[in-house]
């Protein structure tokens, strides 16, 4: 016997609605079966709390006197986007302060706003006849604003990949700090508590769905950007009144050597309208599978090493091809549970009612890669033959080659063409100044290299990061097959 939204809302008004969290629902369905659960349970609450980069807030300051048309503006020294009317702006969570980029960002501004702290507004204008003021420097709190609307184009990912690193260097990514050689793994999301895992066919989640957002009430505006329901990576576009929200559920986060973001608390109620929904909301962590992906490969399509489920992820250890790897989450499971429980209490206390969507969300779309008009160039397309010397030669021979070939980099190889090291013209100069005669006194043995099939931009960044101007190209057998240098790439 299907239930309706009206029947559930009447029960909320009567105070006899039966609400359970998505975790509690698992046991109920296991113990009593889908039929009984569908009859007895009215609402299942979900929750997730993790970094959601596609988040931010629209703010309206009201007009200054004389009026200003903000052209550039900063909130606590974080650049906000201004492309709307004179005193509207959008503060995005991933924008960091210019001076200390990994310490404070847009997410922290929003956290400080909901904490009712004073925020500095600094703005400039090119001035017009109607907006004559050139500069503003003032302070405000959220209560001084006309509107503060959290507006997040992509939140509540159905699930996310688990990130690892197979390179020999520590990587700093949006999936956190990844230790070399599969030293650790990071994942995100709350598994069986994730809102979209509990209604994967979008029977009840749609445009206008009332939700828990940042500790206040929010709404689903539509599908999120990069919504990919066909592959189990659905997302939601959310909004809500920032003024009602709580700092506990909107936390600025800053990932070292990556950037700023914000952890957002989201909870959705799933009305148990029929048996199908009872069955779906009993989803277990072991039924939610995701890929373990190697972030050591800086490409759009990163290699998938294995598949794991959220039960394995939550256990703290996963097995990757025989190696036990410690795994932890970037999302807080403690807060995910807390959100599901808080939303449950709101409904039980008659403070929150359920509504049918105004429109359904797409269920069969996928998302596409960027269209790029220029062809991707690889190291092999731009490399030059390396000027080489053997490792037992005299420095004078190296110096002569530098002049003859008009180069700054001599690659040192053995008789089988294996890379031994590199000598630059500066090294030779140093040798002369310091009376060194043998190549082993000046050779750099720990050479930073590139390989044929890397995109050229990846190799260029490696040169910049290491403050060097050339990379020998090596094959899988460590043989030197060429060189790229910044002189040629300029």
């Amino acid at each position: 016997m299907p239930k309706t939204y009206d029947e559930i809302n009447q029960k909320i008004r009567n105070g006899d609605v039966v609400v359970v969290t998505a975790e509690e629902m698992i046991k109920i369905v296991e113990d009593s079966g889908v039929q009984v659960a569908a009859k007895e349970i009215d609402v299942v609450t979900t929750g997730t709390f993790g970094p959601m980069c596609s988040s931010g807030a629209f703010l309206n300051f009201g007009h200054s006197d004389p009026p200003i048309k903000l052209e550039h503006l900063w909130l606590n020294e974080v650049h906000a986007y201004h492309g709307n009317a004179a005193v509207d702006c959008y503060i995005g969570v991933t924008r960091s302060v210019d001076i200390k980029p990994y310490d404070y960002g847009g997410g922290n501004v929003i956290e400080d706003l909901v904490s009712r702290k004073s925020i500095r507004l600094r703005g400039t204008s090119y001035t017009t006849d109607c907006y004559p003021l050139e500069e503003i420097d003032t302070y405000f709190t959220i209560d001084d604003l006309n509107q503060a609307i959290l507006c997040n184009p992509r939140n509540a990912y159905q699930k996310y990949v688990c990130a690892v690193n197979t390179t020999d260097k520590t990587l700093y990514t949006y999936m956190g700090k990844l230790l070399p050689n599969l030293g650790n793994a990071h994942y995100a999301g709350a598994g069986c508590l994730n809102p979209l895992c509990n209604d994967p066919d979008y029977e009840t989640i749609g445009i206008g769905t009332r939700i828990f957002l940042g500790g206040g009430i929010g709404y689903v505006m539509g599908e999120g950007t990069q919504h990919d329901p066909k592959n189990g990576f659905g997302t939601l576009f959310l909004k809500g009144d920032l003024k009602q929200m709580k700092p506990e559920y909107l936390r600025g986060v800053n990932f070292e050597k990556y950037g700023s973001s914000m952890s957002v608390g989201v909870g959705l109620p799933i009305p148990i309208l029929n048996e199908n929904l009872a069955r779906k909301t009993a989803v277990k962590d072991e039924n939610i599978e995701t890929d373990v992906v190697d972030y050591g490969v800086p490409r759009r399509n990163r290699p998938v090493l294995i598949k794991v489920n959220y039960k394995e992820l939550k256990s703290g250890k996963i097995d990757i091809n025989g190696k036990e790897v410690k795994v932890s989450s970037l999302s807080s499971l403690f807060y995910a549970k807390k959100i599901a429980k808080e939303l449950k209490t709101w409904i039980e206390d008659g403070l929150f009612f359920l509504n049918p969507p105004a429109e359904n969300l797409p269920t069969n779309t996928t998302y596409n890669p960027m269209k790029q008009v220029s062809e991707l160039k690889f190291v092999k397309d731009l490399k030059k033959p390396a000027i080489t010397c053997f490792d037992d030669c005299d420095i004078k021979v190296v110096a002569e080659k530098i002049i003859e070939e008009n180069t700054n980099h001599i690659v040192i190889i053995d008789k089988e063409n294996h890379l031994i090291g590199i000598v630059t013209s500066f090294d030779v100069t140093k040798a002369i100044a310091r009376d060194k005669t043998h190549i082993r006194d000046i050779i750099t043995k720990k050479v930073i290299t590139a390989s044929d099939n890397e995109p050229i931009e990846v190799a260029v960044r490696r040169m910049k990061m290491n403050n060097i101007s050339a990379l020998p190209i090596i094959s899988d057998e460590k043989k030197c097959t060429g060189i790229i240098s910044s002189e040629e790439l300029m």
């Binding site: 650790n184 989450s329 970037l330 403690f334």
Partner: protein, 144 residues
């Protein structure tokens, strides 16, 4: 200077030891190899998990077989290496959001979740490797 012997009376199964080679004692590259050679005399295979330089000296994180810990610790301390097991980080509970980004970085489970999934820190288990420091997106972990 005080040499701190490790793992005396600690019932935690840890095979990673953290040691510091103070700059005051070690002047050039040969001194490092002297120390390593001294350890190698005992015919112990071990992995160096971390080799980092800091303001006080060189910081090594060694993965040592459980039964060889005392032997290697003695060898290290005889060579003026500071062997340290004491916790050197502190977690600010007001900043922490219990996400767990630090958990997988911790080689000894000194950072762990309690039953209610809140982050806890065990001073006894911490070996001061500091791998967790820059993993915290809330800057809630600080060096003591």
């Amino acid at each position: 200077m005080h040499w701190d012997h490790i793992f005396g009376g600690v019932d935690v199964k840890i095979t990673i030891i953290n040691c510091m080679l103070p700059f005051g004692i070690i002047r050039d590259i040969d001194d490092y190899s002297k120390i390593i050679n001294e350890i190698l005399k005992y015919d112990i295979t071990f992995n160096i998990l971390k080799f980092a330089t800091g303001t006080n000296g060189v910081n090594l994180l060694l993965d040592v077989p459980e039964d060889k810990i005392k032997m290697i610790t003695d060898a290290l301390t005889q060579n003026s290496v500071v062997v340290n097991k004491k916790g050197r980080v502190i977690v600010d509970d007001d900043k922490c959001i219990d996400c767990g980004a630090c958990l997988s970085l911790c080689p000894t489970d000194a950072l762990y979740f309690d039953e209610s999934l809140r982050l806890n820190f065990s001073y006894e288990k911490c070996i001061g490797c500091l791998l967790c420091l820059d993993s915290c997106p809330r800057r809630a972990i600080e060096e003591m």
